[in-house]
Symmetry: C2
Subunit: 196 residues, 2 copies
DNA sequence: GACTTTTCTATCCACGTGGATAGTAATTAT
DNA sequence: ATAATTACTATCCACGTGGATAGAAAAGTC
């Protein structure tokens, strides 16, 4: 038919992920051009503008979080969940998270709730995480390894808020240690739920 | 000496509080003129521009939070703290919080950590809250009313993250009930710490 | 090689932004 | 009253933004 795009979709999205991740939605279209190799023209014609392109990027991020980052109920029990929270602020991961936070979380801040497309993705993020956590808690409850002082319902909501809160702490941090301490305390909380 | 300002400092700050609260730092200088009665000229000469004015407004917000909103260790025990968390999302308060969140929290999102003046105020907010919570927990620990499964250190960090996380949940909400449920679950957690 | 289709390059645009400035009006000290 | 001081009005400005558009260039089809 016609000429091929200089940069293909996948590498463009990968580069954009990097860019939006560090700068949020405020990254300018000029900078998107530089970093992704796309042109503002292509941005317009192929993705329907900056916002459409951002949505695609956010989708890619969520896919990745689902596959790689979130705790997996298949392999993860209550103690594993505690470790997972600690790993969020682990020395090898914190430099990255430290600077950029979580793209989905940042999007909650960048957009108000008037944007339906963003909303869908924010909800997907929250739902995904809560489901994972709840599955782990339900297993622990039926195992008898969950202390009976707190219902899986309450516990899973608390853990969602704790993940979000940890992200805020990371974003608000001045001292690098703070986030790690908070993650440790969250882990300690989860471990206190392990019924012996 | 000279002419008086049409709008005085206090009412201007009060109006600005309202504006920044609902729109964040993105509120335009034009809108600040409308809502506060100040002129862009006065904004410049008397406050050093938009940012200086915003900082003054944020200070006023923090003062208010400290005096009126935060839980008071003098009158508040562990059970009271649980109630306080629930009250954050209470029916009479949630419509407000729902729409506007917390100005200090929003500022964490609006600015990066490169801004020292904002940082100072964000830190003040976090420190104020953590100190209040820690005082309550320390009292409970020495009372013997705090369950020994979690240290006051860990518990206070967890509660800071929970407050922040609750704010995110409120901001990200689609359904109005969600925030209330989360607040209730947090309250349930705190109550589970009450040693009987 | 001619035609078609799509992307690329290079501008151009309207808009909103925070801020600057010059001239005018109001208020107070003398 | 007059002078001094401050705030107000009304523009003006430079800048960055996302987006639009016209023409050139490249890659297919025939």
């Amino acid at each position: 038919m016609a000429r091929k795009r200089k940069a293909d979709h996948d590498t463009a999205i990968a580069a954009a992920l990097d860019l939006f991740w560090s700068q949020g939605y405020d990254a300018s279209t000029r900078e998107i051009e530089e970093k992704t190799g796309l042109t503002r023209f292509t941005l317009q014609t192929a993705y329907g503008g900056k916002e459409g392109f951002f949505l695609d990027t956010l989708d890619a991020y969520l896919d990745r979080a689902e596959q790689l980052h979130f705790p997996d109920p298949e392999t993860c029990d209550l103690a594993g969940l505690a470790d997972w929270f600690e790993s969020v602020a682990a020395p090898d991961r914190i430099p990255l998270i430290d600077q950029r936070g979580c793209l989905a979380f940042n999007s909650i801040a960048d957009f108000d709730r008037g944007n339906a497309e963003i909303n869908k993705r924010v909800q997907r993020y929250l739902r995904m995480f809560e489901e994972r956590v709840r599955a782990i808690l339900d297993q622990a409850a039926s195992n008898g390894t969950l202390t009976p002082t707190l219902s899986p319902n309450d516990a899973s909501r608390v853990l969602v808020d704790l993940l979000l809160g940890l992200h805020v702490t990371i974003k608000a941090r001045v001292d690098d240690d703070v986030a790690r301490q908070h993650a440790k305390s969250i882990a300690a909380l989860v471990r206190s739920w392990v019924h012996t």
